[in-house]
Every structure is written in structure tokens, then in C-alpha cells.
């Protein structure tokens, strides 16, 4: 199977380049990550992140034939040859398919992705009704692979100021949580032309999310709550 892979080693290469590979696959190679592991066995200078190999850890996010996705849950049979692999767009490349996620995680941390409450911890767990818990479905499943944020032009232009779809999805996850008591502060934190309103709902994030989540809908709900409190 033919591959064209982005290669860049800042220590030896003046510029990034695309390297072609033609690799014989085994019948057991089902997912793109299997093929990448085979390529790495043949050329161990190729660098990539991977860990759980089943779409849970979010390490092997990359740009596959022009669309961001996880190599481990992308079926080889669905890919057109030559398979073009590039690092996630918009983030600094450390080496080959490995990008520097610092900016991405900075935005994630800026929304305080943890429960904020003044209440004394109860004897057992903090309870929610099944209905209250339902609001977290489709929001809590995010694995922070960065496929969505790096597919978002608004994040490309202002990665330092725009929270990005992944961060905003997490922000809504805690706004929607009935056990959290910092809702007003969270909305204050986001009411900013850059942090939230760079989103123009083009839905690239929804298109690429390997977990099938919908950050655009979460962002819409945050805007709804802002309207409710100020109109």
C-alpha cells in the first residue's frame, strides 16, 4: 500500500518534506495505525505518538488524506491511495507527525475543567438525577485528541485567544453540570469576542470529531445561556 508521509526533523532537515512509502500489509492490518507501526518497523526514524490503539487515549491524531482523525480507528479499507499523512494543522511541529500541544492544553486549562463548589463534600457522592446526568452525554466523552481545534480556522488564526471547540466543549461540560456552582463565573470567563465569539459555527469540529461529538451544539448552548442571563 502506498503512503506519502510528512517528515521533518528540525535537527537535520532545513525544511519539511513528503516521503513516499510502499509497504506490503498483512491481512491482520485493519487500521491505519497497524500500517504505521509496520512502516516504523521498516523505517524507525519515523516519529509518531500512539498509546492505547483503540480510540481512547487520543494520542495518534493526525491529518489523514486532508481530514483530521485518529489513526487507530481509521480503517485502512476506507482510505484512498496514496494515503497522505500530515501532522495536525496549525500547531508547531516537533518532529514528523508529532505536534506541540502546549497551546491546545493552555486553552483547555483556561476554562477550569474541574468541578468548582463551595459546598462541604457530602458523606458519599454528589448526587444527580438521571435527567440532570443526561445533559452531560455527548459532552463528557471528549478525549482531548485536538482533531477538532486543529481543524478550526478560528483556532488557526487566534490559538492564543480563542478557546477552540475542544476547550469550549469542556467549558460547557462544567456549565451543564448541576453539581458545579461557578456557572456565572464560567460564563463571565467566556463572554469575550475572542474566547467564545470567534466561533462562526462552520462545524469543521463536528465533521472531524472521531468520537462523534458536537462542539458546535455545546457552543450554541453556552450562547443561549448568555442570552438568557442578559436579555
Amino acid at each position: 500500500m502506498k503512503f506519502s508521509i510528512y517528515r521533518y526533523n528540525p535537527e537535520t532537515d532545513a525544511k519539511p518534506y513528503m516521503r513516499d512509502y510502499d509497504i506490503a500489509l498483512e491481512p491482520t492490518d485493519r487500521m491505519l495505525l497497524d500500517a504505521l507501526v509496520r512502516i516504523k518497523a521498516h523505517d524507525d526514524s519515523l516519529s509518531l505518538r500512539r498509546s492505547c490503539r483503540e480510540g481512547i487515549c487520543g494520542s495518534d491524531a493526525m491529518n489523514i488524506n486532508g481530514k483530521n482523525g485518529l489513526a487507530c480507528i481509521t480503517r485502512i479499507a476506507d482510505l484512498k491511495e496514496p494515503v497522505t499523512l500530515r501532522p495536525l494543522p496549525g500547531l508547531p511541529v516537533i518532529r514528523d507527525l508529532i505536534v506541540d500541544m502546549t497551546q491546545f492544553f493552555k486553552q483547555y486549562h483556561s476554562v477550569k475543567p474541574y468541578l468548582v463548589t463551595d459546598e462541604r463534600p457530602p458523606e458519599k457522592e454528589r448526587l444527580q438525577s438521571p435527567k440532570e446526568r443526561d445533559e452531560l452525554n455527548g459532552v463528557y466523552e471528549c478525549i482531548l485528541c485536538a482533531c477538532c481545534s486543529t481543524a478550526c480556522p478560528s483556532f488557526w488564526w487566534n490559538p492564543d485567544k480563542f478557546v477552540g471547540p475542544a476547550g469550549l466543549l469542556q467549558a460547557y461540560r462544567f456549565i451543564a453540570d448541576t453539581r458545579d456552582e461557578a456557572t456565572s463565573e464560567r460564563l463571565d470567563n467566556l463572554e469575550d469576542p475572542y474566547r467564545l465569539f470567534r466561533c462562526h459555527s462552520i462545524m469543521n469540529c463536528v465533521d472531524v470529531c472521531p468520537k462523534g461529538l458536537n462542539p458546535t451544539r455545546a457552543i450554541g448552548k453556552i450562547k443561549d445561556m448568555m442570552i438568557k442571563r442578559s436579555v
Partner: protein
């Protein structure tokens, strides 16, 4: 100067809302105007001028044009925020945009109610 990234301007909701509401106003006006023009027996200059003789059409048109200008302001500011990183350059372009749009607003009044 501090190099830290500073955010938290505590505005943005109104602009976003204005863009949506103005879009609805423009859509309604567009449908209305098309309906009026197509319901005329023959569409020549005299008919056109006659339609705009009516005061309520002029007011509706003014509402449409003001919506258009507000819509354009939010849109232009979005474009400048996305692509112009230098704060001074962005402020200058934003001021020029506001001045141009204000001029268009005055010009709209002149067209709708001016002599001739």
C-alpha cells in the same frame, strides 16, 4: 509592556445577537421587496419611483439599510480580528470601517428622502 495574553473583554454577545437579528430583518425585507416588485403590472422606472414614494417603504428600506450596516460592522470586525494581528493596524482599520459605514448611513438617508 506586558507580553501576557489578556482576554476577558466582557462583550461580544451583543454583536453576535445583532448579526442574527439584522439577518432576519434583511431576509424579511428582501422577500417583501421582491413580492412588491413582482406584483406590479409593468416594471419600469415610473413604477419603481412610485413604490419608493410611499413613506412606509422608505422607512422599511431605511431599517433594512441600517441592519445591513450593523451586519457589515460585526462581519468586518470579525474579519479584522481574524486576520489583522497588529493591534494598532486593527484599530485603524476598525475606525475606517466605522467611518465608512456612518457615511453610507447618511448617504442612505440622502438617497431615500433627498430631492429628486
Amino acid at each position: 509592556m506586558v507580553k501576557r495574553i489578556i482576554v476577558g473583554a466582557h462583550y461580544g454577545l451583543r454583536g453576535w445577537l445583532v448579526q442574527r437579528i439584522s439577518a432576519v430583518v434583511m431576509a424579511v425585507y428582501t422577500i417583501l421587496l421582491i413580492a412588491i416588485l413582482f406584483s406590479q403590472p409593468n416594471l419600469d422606472y415610473a413604477t419603481w419611483a412610485g413604490v419608493f414614494e410611499k413613506q412606509w417603504i422608505r422607512l422599511a428600506t431605511l431599517l433594512f439599510l441600517l441592519s445591513l450596516l450593523l451586519h457589515a460592522w460585526v462581519g468586518m470586525r470579525d474579519i479584522l480580528m481574524d486576520y489583522i494581528n497588529h493591534t494598532g493596524a486593527r484599530l485603524t482599520l476598525e475606525i475606517l470601517t466605522v467611518l465608512a459605514l456612518t457615511l453610507y448611513a447618511l448617504w442612505s438617508l440622502e438617497i431615500l428622502w433627498g430631492a429628486g
